[in-house]
């Protein structure tokens, strides 16, 4: 099994964190993983993306040319990566910020992650909502690992942060149930 993911959006949306999150889950499940962020010149509002690869085999190039999955947080991200979409590609877009699409693919999924995150009063967790959707759609990872890694990554944060993230995750997951 090899899963190559590109996550893209704007700085501040949690693009890189989500990539690390997926990498850590893969790692926890004993897979080989690589995660490669972009490091652009712009600090805020700039275009941001990262590559995450999870595999049973040795990973040679961490650069993802033909992604298995695209997780796209906004229109610009979609515009940049739409050419990488083929019939096999799983695409999850945040429909709140990606409106102008050309949906000619069976694995194309839209979820208004912004709205959902707002509804649970935790707008920062938009990326976790997106992950929930991805998790549900692809079914590659175990849910316990997700919670474990989530806990580990939130270590030191306020008590209820984990719970709030868990809810965001579950909302995303439920959306495609």
């Amino acid at each position: 099994m090899t899963e190559k993911v590109i996550i893209a959006g704007s700085g501040g949306q949690g693009v890189l964190t989500l990539g690390i999150f997926i990498a850590k889950i893969g790692f926890s499940e004993g897979k080989n993983v690589t995660w490669l962020p972009t490091y652009g010149a712009e600090k805020r509002g700039g275009f941001s993306f990262c590559y995450t690869v999870v595999s049973d085999e040795e990973i040679f190039s961490p650069v993802v040319e033909s992604p298995d999955t695209l997780i796209l947080f906004d229109q610009r991200a979609y515009d940049v990566y739409k050419e990488k979409i083929n019939q096999q590609t799983y695409v999850v877009v945040n429909s709140n910020l990606v409106k102008n699409i050309n949906k000619n693919n069976k694995n194309f999924f839209e979820i208004d992650a912004t709205k959902i995150a707002k509804e649970i009063n935790f707008i920062q967790a938009m990326n976790v909502v997106m992950f929930g959707a991805y998790f549900q759609l692809k079914k590659i990872f175990k849910i316990e690992t997700v919670y474990n890694v989530m806990k580990q990554m939130l270590k030191g944060k306020k008590e209820d942060t984990f719970l709030k993230n868990k809810i965001a995750f579950e909302k995303g997951m439920e959306f495609f149930k």
Binding site: A41, E42, K43, R44, G45, G46
Partner: protein
């Protein structure tokens, strides 16, 4: 109804949007430099030297001639351009990492030679472009990505007051510290820059304007809070005002 436009984007700016973060002081200073150049009708007569730092992209935004110096060497590059073309307006634009850290020797010698150039010095108390590391101008106790426990003088030295430092040099003719936290201070900054440029046109010699400038991204503050921080903390350590003016 008649509409008369009374404020617009200056002609010396291109149509390219600034790539700087929301509320970044670089944007404001870029804009007012362009305004001053418009007002002095110098667009066709100006050569700017951009630094290495967030403002390395200045060439995308200014519609006059711009080159880019190696990190910190900005004043040396500006010096040579001015010496070769003494009737052009030549200014260097530098961040506090560029000017006060790696470029210390260059700015000091250029000032001491009294080169007839104008230096715009953007003090945002950190290295914006590379992700908010300590700069010589970082405040004591300020946390940065390389002073995660706050700047302590013993290990990292003291906040560097460049203008006060350069002030005793004979070649230096005009030094002023300004800020761009509200409309009034923006106007003052504009006047200071205009003065620096016009001194140069009058061959008076070296001038430098330090702008206390916000870096909301690395300070991890909203733009308004960033300006407040300048008012409340930064300008305590770096008081605004004229430091030297020898006409």
């Amino acid at each position: 109804m008649i509409e008369k436009i009374i404020y617009k984007k200056p002609d010396s700016l291109t149509d390219v949007n600034f790539s700087y973060c929301p509320g970044c002081g670089h944007s404001t200073v870029h804009k007012i430099i362009a305004e001053v150049i418009d007002e002095l009708a110098l667009r066709e007569n100006t050569i700017a030297v951009a630094p290495v730092g967030c403002a390395v992209f200045a060439y995308n935004f200014w519609d006059f001639d711009v080159t880019e110096a190696p990190h910190g060497r900005t004043p040396a590059v500006a010096t040579a351009i001015k010496r070769v073309l003494p009737d052009r307006l030549v200014f260097s634009y530098q961040g506090d990492g560029d000017l006060a850290s790696i470029g210390m020797a260059e700015i000091v010698h250029t000032a001491n030679r009294g080169e007839n150039i104008t230096v715009i010095f953007i003090n945002n108390t950190n290295y914006g472009m590379t992700g908010g590391q300590l700069a010589p101008t970082t405040l004591l106790n300020q946390k940065t990505t390389t002073s995660p426990f706050g700047r302590d003088a013993k290990n990292y030295g003291y906040p560097f007051k460049m203008l006060e430092f350069l002030s005793p040099l004979e070649g230096v003719k005009y030094l002023e510290r300004v800020k761009v936290t509200d409309a009034a201070s923006v106007v003052k900054t504009k006047n200071a820059i205009k003065k620096g440029f016009s001194y140069q046109l009058q061959n008076i010699g070296f001038s430098m304007i330090e702008v206390l400038s916000s870096c909301p991204a690395n300070w991890r503050k909203e733009p308004l809070d960033s300006n407040k921080w300048i008012e409340e903390e930064i300008s305590k350590v770096y008081p605004v005002g004229k430091i030297k003016d020898i006409k």
